[in-house]
Structure formats: structure tokens, C-alpha cells
Amino acid sequence: MPEPVSNITVQMPRAKRAGLLLFFLGPAVAIYSLFSIYPLLATMALSTYTSDPSGARSFVGLANFETLLGDALWSKPFWNALRNNLIFFAVHMCVQNPIGIALAGLLSLPGVRLKGFYRTVMFLPTMLSVVIVGFSWNLILSPLWGVAAGALKAVGLGSLFAPWLGLESSALVTLSLISVWQFVGIPLMLIYAALLNIPEELIDAARVDGLGQFRIFFHIKLPLVLPTISLVSVLTFVANFNAFDLIYSVKGALAGPNFTTDILGTFFYRTFFGNQLQLGNPTMGAAVATVMFFIILLGLCLYLFLVQRRIRRYAF
């Protein structure tokens, strides 16, 4: 048996071991610190300052957060954005991930032809630029020149058409579904890969036990890919609370109509950079960014402590 690596490194001279550590870990630590940790800390630091019209900054402690959560002028749009963001996330969890799982299940069935073709087609939107996706759907759904109205009319469902992106009641859900359409390839691919990992003999054993493909999926495959599904959920959560580009490209920074599609990303953008009559406010923007960071951190902690620890990975 080969010697365990830990023993080899333990026996090394101290200087050599330090050199080795530096060589292997140094580049990653340097890049990660420079581009991730430093900006994060700098943002947090910035959120504790305020600037006067002359541009001079002064330390104000947590006053920015007090304003953000206490002052109705700030807190109303903030809670609105957070609520919209939760809806955005809920739509992804309830639509994107179940569809991704179902498509992966179908693709992993024995005897499906053109698997590679379907896989590519379903993953294609994920590779498109969000700007192109947003612009295309804006055109498709446009009541003036979009094809959606005509297409619905052609199948006799013309009365169902509405300018979904323009209605306060449906704009957010419509945008969420556009995002679902674009990114359904990611849960599909991850879960498909996990399904391929399940040994063929296990499925054969289930067939001998009298299960049809449907039951095999629910009783055997699904429980075994649960770890991947939970991973997909976390990725969805993080991506959704960092989302910005789709809303910006379809609705602009004002996230209309009447801020009904405003999520934390767009709210942060307006705060930090300013928009139309609103002046940019970097210190308040940093406060919003910090709150977003803690929301995602909280979500991740809940996941790690409540979900991850109960899920078991199976070695086959």
C-alpha cells in the first residue's frame, strides 16, 4: 500500500513543507483575497460611512442600516424588493427545478433516442446572453409586434393573451418564467449527471422487483439524487438573490411597472449608481450590498445546518 500523503508531508523539513504549501495554495489564496475577500470587506467598511455633498466621507457606524430599515423612504422599496426577490426565488424552486428534474428523469430513461440532441437544445438558452434573452422575450411578448398574441390566436386561445410584462399583477411572474426558461438547463444537467451515476444493476434489481419506470424514478432514482437536488436548490437561491441582469435588460433600472419587478439587485443598482432623478449614493449602496450578503449568508447557513446535515450521499 502506498504511504498516506499526510505522513510524507509530516516527514518533510519545515521549510520545504511551507514552500510546498505556498506553491500550491498561494495563487488561489492571492486571487481569492484580491478579488473576493478584499472587495467584500471594503464594501462592508464603506457601508459604515456617509458622504456630504462635497464628497468628504465620515464614519457613522450603523446609521446607514438604521436609515435603510427604519426610514420609510428607504425601507418601503427595500422590503418591496426583498418580497419580490422571494417570489422570484419561489417561482424558480416551484417551476424550474421540478421541470429540470422531470426532464432529467425522462432523458435518463432507457431507449430514448436523440438524447444528445435534446440535452443540447435544452441547455442552449443557458448559454445565451441574458441581454439577448431579455430582449427576445420582450419582443415575443410585446402586444404591438410580438408573436405571442398571434400564436395564441392561431390555436384559438387569443382571448388569453395579455400584455403580461406590462401588468403589475403579472410582470414579476412573467420575468421569473423567462429566467426559468433560460436556466432550466442547469438543474437538468446536474441531475442528469447524478442519475447517470446510479448503477445500471440497481435499476435492473428494481425491475426484477416489479417496479415500472415511473416507480423506479420515485422510489429509487429520486431518493438517490436528493443530494444533487439540494445542491441545485442552493445554487438557485444564491443566483436568484444576486439576480439583476434580466430585470435590467427587460425593464430597466426602474423595474416597472411601478417597481413590481424590483428585486434586491436592481434596488442596489439604483441606490449605488443612481438613476434618473435619484443621485448615486455609494455608502447607502454599500449598506444594501452588505444586507444582501447577509441575507444570502443566512439562507446558506439555514441550508447547511437544517438540510445538508440530514442528507446522506450514497456511494455505489
Binding site: P199, D204, A205, R207, D209, G210, H219, I220, L224, Y314
Partner: protein, 359 residues
């Protein structure tokens, strides 16, 4: 009544033929082992009996019923897989009852069967454990238990011992033999290990390139192989082969000559002068001597000592090697020239097409 009848079974994938007109009849309660080199089609045949793979042609009857169109669960079979294929997210008890739930066995009956199988396989202590907490041998027993509770007409085993270490393989082999004695059920067992085949089988089916080469009792295959392939496949080390030719025929006897052994005298039968033959002798049937029915000479190059016997590797006159088993403490030394002889029942002659010729 759980006999198994296979008629004209074919399996093709595109242009490749995996099974070629396989006919096999297995009696109720018989333990049949399918053996052959990898890629010979034995596993495919087993999977087709199970209903996991479809046939390109031919019929399978289980217990007198044509099962071609039936799903695996409806065929009255149970299968033990090479990797055991236990459900990793279910404990031992659930692994065993899971299939019964879907075939409509009532809960009390399920419990009774599990209890009985657990007793038989010494699994009582393990029923609440998960597969990840079990050793290889225990997993194997659970897999067998899962097959037993189905109370199948036919058990199918697909190389069930190949993932176990050598010691466990021997003890599990004995357990499977005991189980067969106890359950008296029909078993079809696939292996590439001829020791497993010889020790377990009532009858062995030797397969090669999608065909059945020979079906017979273990010792029949060993002492009277029907063809060159079976002769070379059964037995370890493999049988020695010597090229030969019919040199002359006189009075119903054929004189067989080769470069590496002294002339043989066998019944002529339908042999003609000039026919190419192959003469086969097992290493364990060669003994030191001066004259015998068969005699060959060689220079010892290497001796493998196993304890109860040693294998001498000898260079023949024609430059090729052959092996002889030497019993006892006195082993030949490399460089020594030996003459080895064999008695007539232990000498096998095969014709140019590989078929056995009566000696």
C-alpha cells in the same frame, strides 16, 4: 414444476450476434452453471431469462409457460447481481420487502418470509442496518435473501462471488450449495470461474462466442470434453495440445504422428491418411515413465511449487511448451530432460474442426 426451456434463442445488436441459436433445457431443481470466457454471451443469456434484455428471436419457457412477453417480475424469477445491487437508501428489511410490496404480498406474509430468510442466512441481527454498514459477505447474503423472499421458480445468479475476497468466496460458495440443497429450487448461475462451476453445478453449460459448446456433468466435461474449446477451457493449468497428423491406416487402426510425441495408435473410424489432428493431455495425467500409450519428451525450464504438487514447464522438441504436474517432494530441476507418459483414457484427440475423435 419450475423447469426452464430455451429454444432457438438469438440475440443480435446490429450486425454483431451475441447469442446464436441457443437451445437449453433445465430440469426442476437443477443447479446449472453457465461458464465461458468474457464476452461469450453467458450474462446476456441470463439477463434474457430474467427479462431484462429482449430476444431477437426464440422462446423462453419457465415452468411450462411462455414468458417472452412478460416483465421480469411476472416471470417467477429472482436475480442476484454481481454488485449485489442493494438499495442504498433502505435498510436490510426494506431491501427484502420492497419488491414484495409491489407484487401484492400482504404485510404479515412479507414479515414471515423475511423472518424465514433472515434465519436461513443468519441476517436477524442485521435487519435494521443499511447496506453501507455491511461487509461484502453480508451484502451478498442480503442480496440472496432478497431473492429468496420472492419465492421464485428460478433463481438467477450473475457472477455473485466475483466481488468477494478469496476466503469469503470459498465459504459463500459452500453456503450457496447448502442453500440449493435446502430450497431444492432451480438455479441458473453465471460465472467465469471454472472452480465455481465445477463445485456447484449439477450440469455445466460451456459457452463460447454466443454458442453452447457443451452441456454436461462437471466430471463428464473434464474427462470427455466434446471439443477443443471445452478441453482447453476446463481444467487448470489448461490441457496441453500437440499438433498431429494421421500417418497411416492399417487394419482399422490409425497411426497418429507428431513432432513432439511418440506415435499413437487409435481406432481409425472415419479418419483418412493426412488428416490434421490435435492431441490433448492434461498436465495432471502426465507421469514420469519410459513407455506408455502416449509419451512426450521435454527439457524442464521452470518449476512452480504449490505444495501438494508442482508444475513443470517443459520445452518440447518443436520449441513450444507443455506442462506436467509432478506430485511429491522430488521436483525436477531446470535443464533436466524428462519423458512423460499418459494412459489411453486420459489422451484426447480432436479432428481439424475441433471435434473429439474416439480413442
Amino acid at each position: 414444476m419450475a423447469n426452464l426451456r430455451i429454444e432457438q434463442l438469438n440475440k443480435r445488436y446490429g450486425a454483431t450476434t451475441v447469442l446464436n441459436n441457443v437451445n437449453l433445457s433445465i430440469e426442476d431443481g437443477e443447479f446449472v452453471v453457465l461458464v465461458g470466457p468474457s464476452g461469450c454471451g453467458k450474462s446476456t443469456l441470463l439477463r434474457m431469462i430474467a427479462g431484462l434484455d429482449g430476444a431477437s428471436g426464440g422462446d423462453i419457457h419457465i415452468a411450462g409457460k411462455l414468458v417472452n412477453a412478460l416483465a421480469p417480475a411476472e416471470r417467477g424469477i429472482a436475480m442476484v447481481f454481481q454488485s449485489y445491487a442493494l438499495y442504498p437508501h433502505m435498510n436490510v428489511r426494506k431491501n427484502m420487502t420492497f419488491g414484495l410490496k409491489f407484487t401484492g404480498v400482504p404485510p404479515t406474509e412479507r414479515e414471515r418470509r423475511v423472518a424465514e430468510a433472515a434465519r436461513m442466512l443468519r441476517l436477524e441481527e442485521l435487519l435494521e442496518r443499511y447496506p453501507r454498514d455491511l461487509s461484502g459477505g453480508q451484502r451478498q447474503r442480503v442480496a440472496i435473501g432478497r431473492a429468496i423472499v420472492r419465492e421464485p421458480a428460478v433463481f438467477l445468479f450473475d457472477e455473485p462471488l466475483s466481488n468477494l475476497d478469496a476466503a469469503l468466496r470459498v465459504s459463500t460458495r459452500v453456503e450457496i450449495a447448502n442453500l440449493h440443497r435446502l430450497l431444492k429450487s432451480t438455479i441458473v448461475y453465471v460465472t467465469h470461474d471454472q472452480v465455481e462451476a465445477m463445485t456447484l453445478a449439477d450440469r455445466i453449460v460451456v459457452m463460447n462466442k454466443g454458442r453452447i459448446e457443451q452441456v454436461g456433468k462437471p466430471l463428464d466435461l473434464y474427462y470427455e470434453p466434446a471439443n477443443l474449446f471445452v478441453a482447453g477451457f476446463i481444467g487448470s493449468p489448461a490441457m496441453n495440445f500437440f499438433e498431429a497428423e494421421v500417418e497411416g491406416i492399417e487394419g482399422g487402426r490409425a497411426r497418429v504422428a507428431g513432432t513432439a510425441f511418440r506415435n499413437l495408435d487409435i481406432p481409425a473410424g472415419s479418419l483418412k491418411v493426412g488428416d490434421a489432428l490435435t492431441v490433448g493431455v492434461r498436465p495432471e495425467h502426465l507421469v514420469r515413465g519410459e513407455a506408455g500409450f502416449f509419451a512426450a519428451e521435454g527439457v524442464v525450464e521452470l518449476v512452480e511449487r504449490l505444495g501438494e504438487a508442482s508444475f513443470a514447464y517443459l520445452r518440447r522438441v518443436d520449441g513450444r511448451m507443455f506442462v506436467a504436474e509432478v506430485r511429491g517432494r522430488q521436483t525436477p530441476a531446470p535443464g533436466e530432460t524428462m519423458t512423460l507418459v499418459a494412459a489411453s483414457p486420459d489422451v484426447h484427440v480432436f479432428d481439424a474442426s475441433g471435434l473429439r475423435v474416439a480413442t
